[in-house]
Symmetry: C2
Subunit: 266 residues, 2 copies
């Protein structure tokens, strides 16, 4: 059981709506980030542009300094993705702590179909981190992050691909490291929740179907490329596909019936 | 085929990386936004906070002034979601055009497993909009947006639930309307792409499996709530579940083999 580390509550990350669904627990937040295939990263492009920018990126929580750190311990967020030159230049040119950014991860686990539109909702998990981004310059740390991020796409893929990257690949790869300042998460599970004015109205309840449609991400049968020369789909890939499908489906289906303490959901 | 409307290219929305995957086509961008269950909305909280904020929200493109406007025509983005008081207050207090925000939608359609980590990728669809957000104050427009957004969660749900909302529900509902200034989209489909230095290396190609794992969102069997009194799951729900599952699976599987002109993908 032991200690539970939480992010500090600051004005920028304190959840004001549906507080009972909020978590500041490192483990819950890091787990949502690490199980998301896409992260949305926001930054301000500068004084000449009024609009914040959002990029979809791939990323993972990890610690180069303490590689054995657990998911419930302080970690950095490493990002790699369709990095426009803008965010890279801004991070490269940023002074002091780095470029202030926001990282968000969200997934939908179910559609909550209640009696009235206003009480419709999703079962979902979402996490937000704020922090300062800098380019990773050290070769060893870049390699650490590349392996971490490749294996987040598909477990154990790094060691089963052509590694290490050569020097051209190393220099063309750009990794952002985010020193996290605060974070928060929100988790909604359970079923339908309606108001008494509707649940006691026979005309309404006899007419409106209520319940939950579970939603999850499915991984399909792997499709070999025309150039592929390995006859069988390797075990680590078929196992990944089967495990993910089981986990994802089970989470969405169990979320309908349960409201567990946040710590036990991961 | 007629005209194709596109968003203007400004510095804030011009795609600089993988330009051949970019689209400025209204139809492609609006379709990605409207088929996304969650939108990520970014705004700047103000001078005292260095970090941009991101909220997961539910939203849809639509036009109250021209309700019959097609998906390929100029539309506004209506947002409803877990709206912190911060974004609502900022939008309410914003002067002139409204609060500058960024709206992003992304989905993953497949894992591209190539010979080297550097050539790994996703099949994906993503869209970004920039615009000015204001609160919807007119009752009729609010009702229009509530119906639009409810039906985006599940087709035809609005008319099958207890409507219209009563006055307490109307006043507790807050809708943001975003006047879109620019937008862009990116679509990646197809298979593995590797460099000659690896595809001609027998040691590598005999050892590394390459191909695509399709990924799509699955909707499960609807689970009635304990309070539900409608014995059969209604047709419009079972049809929605079946249609979505077919569409999503087919898109992910077909994306592996095809690189269609962007206009034909939707």
């Amino acid at each position: 059981m032991g200690r539970t580390l939480t992010y500090p509550k600051r004005s920028s990350n304190t959840v004001n709506r549906y507080k009972h669904r909020a978590t500041y627990d490192l483990k819950a937040i890091h787990t949502i980030v690490n199980s998301s295939q896409v992260l949305h990263v926001s930054f301000s492009p500068g004084p000449s542009d009024p609009f914040p920018a959002i990029l979809p990126m791939i990323g993972q929580m990890g610690s180069f300094d303490y590689p054995s750190a657990g998911i419930d311990e302080p970690l950095d967020c490493y990002l790699h993705g369709y990095v426009s030159s803008r965010i890279m230049n801004l991070a490269r040119d940023s002074e002091g702590d780095g470029l202030p950014i926001c990282v968000a991860a969200s997934r939908v686990d179910g559609l909550i179909l209640s009696l009235t539109p206003n009480s419709h909702s999703y079962n979902y998990r979402s996490a937000v981190l704020h922090g300062y981004a800098k380019l990773v310059t050290g070769e060893a740390e870049k390699l650490y992050a590349m392996e971490l991020i490749t294996n987040s796409v598909l477990s154990d893929r790094w060691e089963h691909s052509r590694v290490p990257p050569d020097s051209a690949e190393m220099s063309s790869t750009v990794i952002l490291k985010v020193k996290v300042v605060d974070g928060s998460g929100k988790i909604r599970d359970g079923g339908v929740s309606d108001e008494k004015k509707d649940t006691t109205n026979d005309e309404v309840t006899s007419r409106v179907w209520t319940g939950v449609v579970p939603v999850w991400e499915t991984f399909g049968e792997p499709v070999p490329s025309p150039e592929n020369k390995v006859t069988e789909v390797p075990d680590y890939i078929t196992r990944f596909v089967a495990d993910k499908n089981n986990q994802n489906r089970r989470y969405a289906q169990e979320a309908v019936h349960m409201t567990l303490p946040l710590e036990e959901q991961h």
